[in-house]
């Protein structure tokens, strides 16, 4: 990526932006260089994750929320990263989130990019974080990240987002428990969408009760507030954040003002408590660790010849070596080279 391209991107050229996203996604050398060149310009955007069960209304909510954001007096620029699963059989993907965002297609202050998981677990794609950096550098004030329809394990988004919104739908009786502990814990804001359906108020009360129990137990709001002790926070001990539970009807844009209010309140909380900086630090720490792991993997893989690997694998197949001792053996062998 040359200086002119960086300039074009920062000036708001959408074609450049879109091409860079593709280069980054395919993990090409050009993409790596682009991330390198853009990194100094990142660190401004408010990253908001939206997760929840398949069909809960995440995309519809993103649509309504973005419209609301764009109606604000200072109309922030909004980027949307919509992640859908790659088929494990064909390697292809059907990316359908745009269908629910018809209102945003004409707005030059909004950029929607769909991406497939391409085998990554955790509800995001490997390049989702890199996408958020590109959008950040390109001057998008808010980055909305819609995960794949998530169950309990797809909680990767918390490592990326400043604010995580968990979306559920009204349930009755036992299936209110549909929202599982894992995903409940990551919520900074809980939304019961499809509140036009019966049972919304019970679901809200139930979730509030669940949250308050957790709140009373740990003395903090889940994992988020637990690490806010740093120099900024030390001056003024922060009240822990108790995730609000809101009702919305995304397809009628109802409850969206309150949702925006909650997002703004959370942002204020993050900044005033010092949690924002803590999260940034943690995210960057994770990014370095990931890069180390990747580099080491690449390094070893380049050194272990297919023949050596095959021979060792055969020993494991014949139960002469365990996978663990095979790994030790391979690493020692190439270290000696």
């Amino acid at each position: 990526m040359n200086a002119q391209e960086v300039k074009n991107l920062i000036r708001g050229d959408r074609l450049t932006l879109s091409r860079i996203l593709s280069q980054v996604e395919s993990q090409s050398e050009a993409g790596r260089q682009a991330l390198e060149a853009l990194f100094p310009f990142t660190g401004r955007a408010h990253k908001i994750g939206i997760t929840g069960a398949p069909g809960a209304g995440k995309s519809s909510l993103v649509n309504a929320l973005t419209r609301q954001l764009r109606r604000q007096p200072d109309a922030p620029k909004v980027a949307i990263i919509a992640v859908d699963p790659t088929s494990p059989f064909s390697g292809g993907a059907l990316l359908g989130d745009r269908v629910r965002m018809p209102d945003l297609q004409r707005d030059p202050g909004v950029f929607i990019r769909s991406m497939a998981t391409r085998g990554a677990l955790g509800g995001l794609a490997a390049a989702t974080e890199a996408f958020s950096q590109v959008f950040d550098a390109a001057g998008y004030d808010i980055i909305l990240i819609e995960t794949v329809g998530a169950g309990q394990a797809e909680v990767e988004v918390v490592n990326l987002a400043h604010t995580t919104i968990v979306v559920d739908t009204p349930g009755t009786g036992d299936d209110i428990q549909a929202i599982k502990a894992g995903i409940l814990e990551i919520a900074d804001i809980l939304v019961i969408n499809k509140a036009d359906r019966p049972g919304a108020d019970q679901s809200v009360r139930y979730l509030q009760a669940m949250l308050e129990m957790g709140y009373a137990r740990s003395g903090t709001a889940g994992h988020h507030a637990s690490e806010t002790v740093n120099s900024v926070a030390a001056e003024k001990p922060a009240e822990p954040w108790l995730p609000p539970v809101l009702k919305t009807i995304a397809i009628e844009s109802q409850g969206i003002e309150d949702l925006l209010g909650a997002i703004q309140a959370h942002r204020k909380f993050l900044l005033e408590s010092g949690t924002w900086q803590v999260k940034e630090r943690q995210a960057l720490q994770k990014a370095i660790q990931r890069a180390i792991a990747q580099n080491l993997m690449d390094f070893w893989e380049a050194k272990i010849t297919p023949e050596l690997f095959e021979a060792t694998l055969q020993s494991v197949v014949e139960r002469k070596l365990s996978p663990e001792s095979a790994a030790q053996y391979l690493l020692q062998t190439i270290q000696g080279l």
Partner: protein, 136 residues
């Protein structure tokens, strides 16, 4: 390095509610290993061009059963050029009278498909078009 995935936008321009064909094609391309972005119904040419730009697709597939293809297709092509995506391959399917096909090809469409199209043929044509360009 992972192979570059083929990205395809499947769009339905105009006021046309027939979406079965578009969905059949979208699914077939996915099952062939492509990444398919589906935009839904009632897209204006401007919206389709914008989506093609944002999604950085290699192919735009238009499904039109309303009879308005002679108007809509050139408009989509015009808008794609305006946003800098004049280089995408354009495939059109739906109810298109034989007599209209030469005009559409002339306007820049790669190929036109009618009812009963075997989806494997579409997959092959897309792969062939992209392979051809990569060689050039």
């Amino acid at each position: 390095m992972p192979e570059k995935k083929i990205r395809v936008l499947i769009a339905k321009p105009g006021l046309d509610g027939h979406d079965r064909g578009a969905k059949v094609i979208a699914r077939a391309l996915r099952d062939d290993g492509m990444e398919v972005i589906y935009t839904g119904l009632r897209q204006t040419p401007q919206m389709i061009a914008e989506a093609a730009l944002q999604e950085d697709v290699d192919v735009v597939g238009l499904s039109i059963l309303s009879g308005a293809h002679n108007v809509l297709v050139p408009q989509v092509i015009q808008k794609l050029r305006e946003v800098g995506k004049g280089d995408v391959f354009i495939f059109v399917g739906g109810i298109i009278p034989q007599a209209d096909i030469p005009g559409l090809l002339q306007a820049g469409v790669k190929k036109v498909y009618g009812p009963g199209t075997d989806t494997r043929e579409v997959c092959q044509d897309i792969r062939a078009a992209i392979a051809e360009r990569q060689q050039a």
